[in-house]
Symmetry: C2
Subunit: 235 residues, 2 copies
DNA sequence: GCATATTTGTCCGTATGTATA
DNA sequence: CTATACATACGGACAAATATG
């Protein structure tokens, strides 16, 4: 890699340069950009210039474009021909569609899980613990990450590569939606105890009960998000 | 585009050069490669060299890599770091996983369709007709395409962008599996009348009956494919 | 509506690193 | 272990499209 530029933007971007040694350069660049999108530094609608970012990150345009492609496929960015790439902006319809997919995937996964392996159940517990811990420290961004991890672990119970991968895409997209919530705390806090309850139901072997609880959970979250969308449209 | 080379390979690839004028260069290249993969010219496991293909198609390596990315995302190709891209090889477990996804997506789509729009239902009918017509002409490759179109249309009934897109990926992947069938006719013919029956049930408003019929259909097809896999493993 | 500046799309040549015979 | 082939990544160039005044 060439000597990187040292602009202000570069400093903002490279806060986690320590973990920059795995995978191809394009993948590492994509990791950085993904983080900046999900944490809100690059808000929906923002255009990502090839020259600006390439200079800031010290990578060539070709490599940067490769990273863009990865994120376009994750649906975090959209690509407009001859206009460049933009952080995706989701509308209320997308929220409805995303939650339809979540209900389908997550509830089906739980119901199809049968008697899940202890390792898979353990992953669910780990995520629940992490969310509660982050909540205790007031780190609501981390709560959001742990929550995603929880739902990912739920789908993993079905032991289906493709369901797991599809869920990853859906959940990544969902992070773009969360930016409409003015308060991350208000959005995440109510779900902590629901997460733990679902874990308990699963541990007790009551998959059907867990699926039903999850279904209601998702319905409430969807409504909350749609309300936030309606409110932001008024302003 | 630069002057393309004129190797034998180029002639094989560019049989449909006429339709080479829409979208970005990378997308057009991806379309060509997708066709050659699904029709079997590039069989599973085959390595696609950047230099060889770039020369044959008259595009630069950068552009070709962009096309590779698209197909890797469609799971038709796999990418191994520093080794290149290969046509994906699916194993019996993949068949099981793919059919799990199919059952989930297609049956849920039908059950969630409610009273589908006449336009969406019309798409189903068109696909059924096309399959029967191709069958009458003995064009089994076209029957396979029409069949994919039929299932795609079923999922489209749910009117969910993401379900539709996920289905497209699953069905594209499935085409890789079909190559294990020694006789495309044997595999596709038995399903023609099932397709029409499902269409009739939908048109009559019996979504639940259609979903049940589809579920059985998929179970039979899965078993048939798994048998073919077992047989090819013996040889 | 037009001319100009900016940005992307595409290609090339080359240097470096990695896997494999 | 060496040699070869190939992928990764860089920088520069020009064409083409878009945005701006």
């Amino acid at each position: 890699m060439a000597t990187r530029g040292s602009s202000d933007l570069a400093d903002q971007l490279l806060t986690d340069r320590a973990s920059l040694d795995r995978g191809s350069t394009a993948e590492r660049v994509a990791d950085i950009l993904r983080g900046r999108i999900t944490d809100g530094l690059f808000p929906p609608g923002r255009r990502l210039s090839e020259e600006e970012l390439g200079g800031a990150l010290g990578v060539s345009r070709n490599t940067l474009r490769e990273a863009f492609r990865l994120l376009v496929h994750e649906r975090l960015l959209v690509h407009e021909l001859n206009r460049g790439v933009f952080v995706r902006t989701l509308v209320a319809d997308d929220v409805v569609d995303l939650y339809r997919m979540r209900r389908l995937l997550e509830c089906a996964a739980i119901r199809a899980a049968g008697e899940p392996s202890t390792a898979a159940l353990e992953q669910v517990r780990v995520a629940v613990d992490a969310a509660e811990q982050a909540s205790a420290q007031g780190d609501w961004l981390a709560v959001g990450s742990a929550n995603m991890q929880f739902h990912q672990a739920l789908v993993a119970l079905a032991n289906s590569r493709r369901m797991t991968e599809t869920a990853r895409h859906v959940l990544a997209e969902l992070r773009l939606v969360f930016h409409v919530m003015s308060s991350h705390r208000e959005f995440h806090e109510p779900y902590l105890h629901r997460n733990r309850k679902i874990y308990h139901l699963l541990a007790a072997g009551d998959n059907d009960g867990a699926a039903t609880a999850l279904e209601e959970y998702l319905g409430v979250a969807e409504r909350q998000l749609l309300d936030a969308y309606a409110a932001s449209a008024d302003r």
